[in-house]
Structure formats: structure tokens, C-alpha cells
Amino acid sequence: MGSTFMGLETARRSLSTHQWALQATGNNVANASNPGYSRQRLTLGMTEQLSVNFGGTKAGQFGTGVRGETLARIRDLMIDQQYRDESVKNAFYATKEAAFGRMEDIINEPSENGLAKSLDLFWASLQDLSVNPDDTGARSVVRQRALTLAQTFNYMSSSLTKVQDDLKTEAGVVTKKINDLLTKISDVNRQIGDAEPLGVLPNELYDERDRYMDELSQYIEFERVPVDYTNGETRGNSQRVAEGRIDIRVVVGGTEVKLVDGLTGGVGKFDGMTMTDAAGTNTSMTHADMPNGKWKALVEMYGSATGPEAIDGAFTNMLKDLDEMANVFASAFNVAHGTNMDADGNAGRTDFFVGTTSAATITVNPDFMKNLDLIAASKDGNIGDGSGALELAQLKESALNFAGSVTTSTSIGKYYQNVIGNMAVEASQNANLAKSTFALLSSSDQRRLSVSAVSLDEEMTMMIQYQHAYNAAARNITAVDEMLDKIINGMGVVGR
């Protein structure tokens, strides 16, 4: 026969376990809108069973109540991995898309105020001059249009340079964020390492670490490698489901660099083109083996011409192309201008455009700003001859030798179309990839939410279930109480 008070103990265990279960449910509901939160469940287990002999060979095992086994978070680490893989790709293409968007805003083609229009207007003014070479008005229009063309080059060049600098600054900010996150992950790692041997599951710390890793996955591609319990061993009283400490490793050109070392607690440093691992060993990167992600995208966009990041960045290329266009066209123009005669019958000067080496510096020679007669429109030296101006106008159509991002012999207009076409194709490819990687990213996010997010209906149902179980346990106590009352106060009073 069991103990007199056994029923009370069983019900008490039920009361307190369900109170804790309700507490877990309450916590889930409270965190329903917390983005990085994984729902938690108290797994219930039976307490030791009691064998009871009913007499003879008849016996039964009675349960003695319930207890909480583990309070675990519900999460699929595989889906986390998928999410981070997609996040790296999406951040890469989305960053490029945004940077190309800014480039397109500056280039602003096709429009009524881009470089193509300035070039056409300059050509038209030379045509007008060839028709009216004696007209000072036509001359002054040529001068103004030349200035507009030069200023369009200047504006585009300086704006592109500005955005390029911004991108470089952003890459610097990203570097800081990466290092900050590495430190945070290492801190949480240590706390997890301290807590687990006590037999608890530090769910909040797991969630926090996962949040940091999600954020890190935008910036660089990394591997999450668990380092505790890899062979089934335990540390102290740690539970089987404990996640343990982790390494953050980045693969650079075939070698693994430990940026966070779970066992030693060391933190490496991500510094531009160099990575320092947790032990302090430096590994330098080249463009080919940069880890994917936002940081790589930024480097690929600004790609400075010199230094360790010497790659053909999109902005570097565009600036190079503009320089090439300005230089080749202006130099050819200057040479052609030199073969003409100016309004006073002198040989034309070969410095109509000055500062031609770069789109940033090209401008019209100030001498021409003072004296319109210097514009050489004539071939025979007479004022009425506009054939020189016509030759200058026709330069727009003639094949020039360009050696920018592509080496080709073509007219400046066609070359510019090429440059715009290449930019547009690249930008649209990136936009499409950003869109498709975003779709993959959100679908893996959905799968993750499907596993880990709090469902209010579910919690409500659980709440009702736990509440009823709690109430029933309380009723059980009452029943046992009445039973005991009967025995203690109601028995043996016959005839009293």
C-alpha cells in the first residue's frame, strides 16, 4: 500500500509543473513580436514509478506525478544555415544594386540633360558656326556649348568620385560592424560556455548569438563550427541538447581563418584586406578570395585604382571611361582645331580644351573666353569660310581610338552608348539577382519562422490545456483532502 499522503504529493507536483509550463507559455506570448526569439517548450516527464503488489502475482506500476525535464528552444539549425547562405548572397547583390542605382542617377541617360545631349548641342553649335562663320553670336554659342560639355564631364566625374568615396566610407563602417559583432559573439560564447556545465540551457543566449550571426551574415560569408560535445562528451552537467561554444571561421583562398575561437575565447580582427585570426596570425586577401557579402560588394563597386584593393571596380571603370572619352575627344578636337585658321587669319591654336587628361579637369582655355576670334572655323583664313568648323563638327562621327574599359576604334557617341549599355546591363543583372536572392532569403526566413516563431493560437490552446490540468490537479488535492478528512475526522465515531 502506498503512503497516506502520496496523492497529495502527486497533485502538488502537477500543480507546480503546470505553473512552470504556464510560465513558459506566458513568456512565449510576451515575446511573440520579438524578431530573434525562438519559442520555448517545457518538456514534461514522469517521476519515478512505484511498483505496487496487489496480492499474489498481480502487481502494477503507479506513476507518482510529473516534472519538467528540459526547457528547450525550438529551432532548426539547418534552416539557420540556409538563411545565412541566402543572406550573404542577397546582401552582396542588393548592395551592388543600390550602388549602381546611384551611378545611374548621376549618368542620367537617356534624358534631356545628359552627356549625350551636351555632345549633340556642341555638335549643333559647330554646325551653326560652319553656316555662319562670321557671326560672333555663333562663335559665342560654340564657346558656351564647349563649356557646358566640359562642365558635364566635370560634374559627372566629381559626383561619381563623391559616391565612390561614400562607398569606401561605408566599407569602413561595415568593417567596424564586423569586428563589433565578432566581439559580441565571442562574449556570448563565453557566457554559454559558463552556463551549460551547470545543466541549464541558456536559451536567451543562444537566441542572442543567432541574432548576431544573422547580422554578420549580411557582411561576410562565414562558417559556424560547434566546438564542444563534438564526440558526445559532456562538460560538467551539460545537457545532451546543449549547443556549446562555436567558432566563426572564414575561408580565404583555401585556408580557414578562425575569427572567433570558441575554446580559447580569442577574437580575431577583420581589417580591410587583411584578416587576423584569433591567435593573432595575419592572412592577407586578394580580390579573388574575399569572402562574399556586403563588404565584398562595396569593394567591387568602389575598387580603387591603386593599393591592395586594386581591382576594376564599377566606379573606377566608369571614371576611367569618362576620362578616356574626355581625353580622346578633346585631344582630337584640339589637333583638328590647330589645322584651321582663326577669325584673324592666324593658325588655330591646339589648346582649345585644356586639362584634357581627366574628365574632372577638362575645361575651355580661358584665352578663348576672352577672345572669340580665336575659335578657328576657317580653312583658307577668310572669315566666310566655315569648312573648318564643319570638320570640327564631323569629329563627332569620326572613329577615334579609345582605350578605356574596352579598347576600340569608334565614334565618341557610339563609345558612350557602349559605356551606358555595359553599365545598364550590369546594373539590371544585379537588380534581378538581388530580387531572386531576396525571394530565396524570405522563403528560408519563412521556413525558420514556421519552426521557431510563436503562434498565439497555439499558445492560447496550450494555456487552456495547462490551466485545466492545473485546475484538475487542485481538484485532485481536494478529493484527497476529503478522503483524508473522512479517515481522520469521520472514522470510528459510530454511535457518538
Binding site: 541617360e109 545628359g114 562670321d134 583658307d380 577668310n382 566666310g384 519562422l449 510563436v454 503562434s455 498565439l456
Partner: protein
């Protein structure tokens, strides 16, 4: 699959945001009337857009050049017409004077009229289009004939024809003025002075007026000059025919440019302008989807089990 409230909210937000993106694109298309705002939206349209726009601007410029050329040629034609008329009148007067019954006083009257006509031809040679002398090659800032010198030359039987030209010599090869009227196609717009106002013309006229002034001149001498005048007149007609042919060509070019302008503008518009009806239909259908997304969100997200528990 287990579906949670957060998923419903996120899905709804995602679709609303993509729906707004589409609506914003359609709105931009309708407001600007252009199919693309950024080159990356359609690289081919962007590249061709640059080319077509350039083409439209080029045709526009060539038409301006053609109209300049036309006005120059019209003026040339009308002055040449006057010169021809003047030479014709001189021929009539010469025929009249060749009659031996005319006395010297009557011839003197004829001579004075002929002189006036020659001076008129001289001033026609100095015709201006705007600020430009049209008959002095590329030296459009200088007149061809010095009218005072021309008068002196007519009065002086021994005078040199070179003296009447502003430059001091009779023009031999003077500059051609050519306008570009189509890509790579140029048309000469001026008549060169050596062909219309060359020394043959003035020498011939000078000889005539000298003969008219000379009392010993016989009618037969003057009749002989009629041949010279015929040659001069014939020369002018040839030149005018040449000019007319050029004007004709210009007209053809202009017609072609007009066609080209329409074609270029149509191609440009086809390339980059929206089809308004199509875009409005698109807007309507996106609007329906958007409204459906909003109403679905409102219906699904709001209720939970809580609403149905006592």
C-alpha cells in the same frame, strides 16, 4: 507547414511592399510618359534611346542648315536675275545705238543709261545676305566691287579692270562655301565671283561704254559688240541653271529630311514612350491585386483564437 502570426504579417508586408513597388513604377511611367526611368530597367531601350535622340537632333540641325542654304540661294538667284535683266537692257540699248542714224548726243544719252546699268551690276555684285557679302568667295566681310573705282574705270578708256575690285585684282579662284545638309553630304551655296562677276563681264561692258563715248564709232562696231553681250548673257543663264540645279537638289534633300524627321521621331517614340492604354490597364490590374492584398491582410491578421474564447 506550421504557420504563425509573424509569418502572416511578414508575408503580408512583403507583398504589400512589392505591390507598392509595381504601382510606383506604373505611376512613374504614366507621369513621365516614358517606359524607363533608369538605363538598367531596359538596357537596350536606353542605348537605342541615346542613338535615336541624337538622330532626331541631327535631322533638326540639318534642316536648319538647309533653310540657311535655301535663303542664301534664293538671294543669289534674285540678284542674278537682275543682272541678267540689266545685261538684256544693255543689249537692247546697244542694238538701238548701233543704228547709224543716231547722233553722238543721242548716243551720249544711251551711254549714260548703260553706265547706270553697269554701276547697278557692280552694286548687285556687292549683295549682302544679312551681314555677308555673297559674291566674294569666303571673304564675306568685304565687298567685291569698289563702286567708285568702277565709275572711274568706265570714264577712263585706258583703265585696268583689276582696279574695280576691292582686292585690287580680278578674282581667279575664290573660296567655295559649303553647308552640310545631310550626314557627309555638302552643298555649295555661293556662286563664285570669277564665274559671274569676272573680268570678262566688266571688260566687255567697259569696251561697250568706251565705244559709245567715241564719236568715231560706227554702227557696225557696236553691232559687233552684240555678240560679246550675247556671250555674257549666255554665261549668266548657264550659271543660273547651275544654281537652279543646286536649289533643286537642296529641295530634294529637304524633302528627304522631312521624311527622316518623322521617321526618326516615330522610332524614338516607339522605343521609349509608353503605350498609355496598356499602362492604364496595367495600373488597373495591379490596383485590383493591391486592394485584394490589403483586404486579405485585414481579414486574416486581425482575428486570433482569443476573439472566440469566452
Amino acid at each position: 507547414m506550421r504557420v504563425t502570426q509573424t509569418m502572416l504579417t511578414q508575408t503580408n508586408l512583403k507583398h504589400l511592399s512589392s505591390s507598392y513597388n509595381t504601382l510606383a513604377r506604373v505611376q512613374e511611367q504614366l507621369i513621365s510618359g516614358k517606359r524607363i526611368q533608369k538605363a538598367s530597367e531596359d538596357p537596350v531601350v536606353a542605348m537605342q534611346g541615346i542613338r535615336y535622340r541624337t538622330e532626331v537632333r541631327e535631322v533638326d540641325q540639318f534642316r536648319r542648315n538647309v533653310s540657311e542654304a535655301t535663303s542664301w540661294m534664293d538671294l543669289t538667284d534674285s540678284t542674278l536675275n537682275e543682272v541678267t535683266e540689266a545685261v538684256k537692257r544693255i543689249r537692247e540699248l546697244t542694238t538701238q545705238a548701233a543704228n547709224d542714224t543716231y547722233e553722238s548726243s543721242q548716243r551720249a544719252i544711251i551711254k549714260s543709261e548703260v553706265d547706270q546699268l553697269i554701276e547697278h551690276i557692280g552694286s548687285l555684285a556687292n549683295s549682302k545676305a544679312g551681314e555677308k557679302y555673297i559674291y566674294n568667295g569666303t571673304k564675306t566681310d568685304q565687298p567685291l566691287i569698289n563702286v567708285d573705282q568702277l565709275k572711274a574705270y568706265l570714264a577712263n578708256p585706258a583703265g585696268s579692270v583689276d582696279s574695280i575690285y576691292e582686292s585690287g585684282t580680278a578674282p581667279a579662284t575664290s573660296g567655295e562655301i559649303e553647308f552640310e545638309v545631310s550626314k557627309g553630304i555638302t552643298v555649295q551655296v555661293n556662286m563664285q565671283p570669277e564665274t559671274v562677276f569676272g573680268k570678262e563681264l566688266f571688260e566687255g561692258l567697259h569696251k561697250l561704254t568706251t565705244l559709245l563715248n567715241d564719236p568715231t564709232t560706227a554702227g557696225a562696231d557696236l553691232s559687233a559688240e552684240l555678240d560679246t553681250l550675247d556671250t555674257l548673257g549666255q554665261n549668266l543663264i548657264t550659271e543660273r541653271a547651275e544654281l537652279g540645279a543646286r536649289a533643286n537638289r537642296l529641295e530634294l534633300v529637304d524633302n528627304r529630311l522631312q521624311d527622316h524627321e518623322i521617321i526618326a521621331k516615330t522610332i524614338m517614340s516607339d522605343n521609349e514612350d509608353i503605350d498609355v492604354e496598356k499602362v492604364i490597364m496595367e495600373l488597373k490590374s495591379h490596383e485590383t491585386v493591391h486592394r485584394a492584398a490589403l483586404s486579405a491582410g485585414a481579414r486574416i491578421i486581425q482575428p486570433t483564437l482569443l476573439d472566440f474564447l469566452r
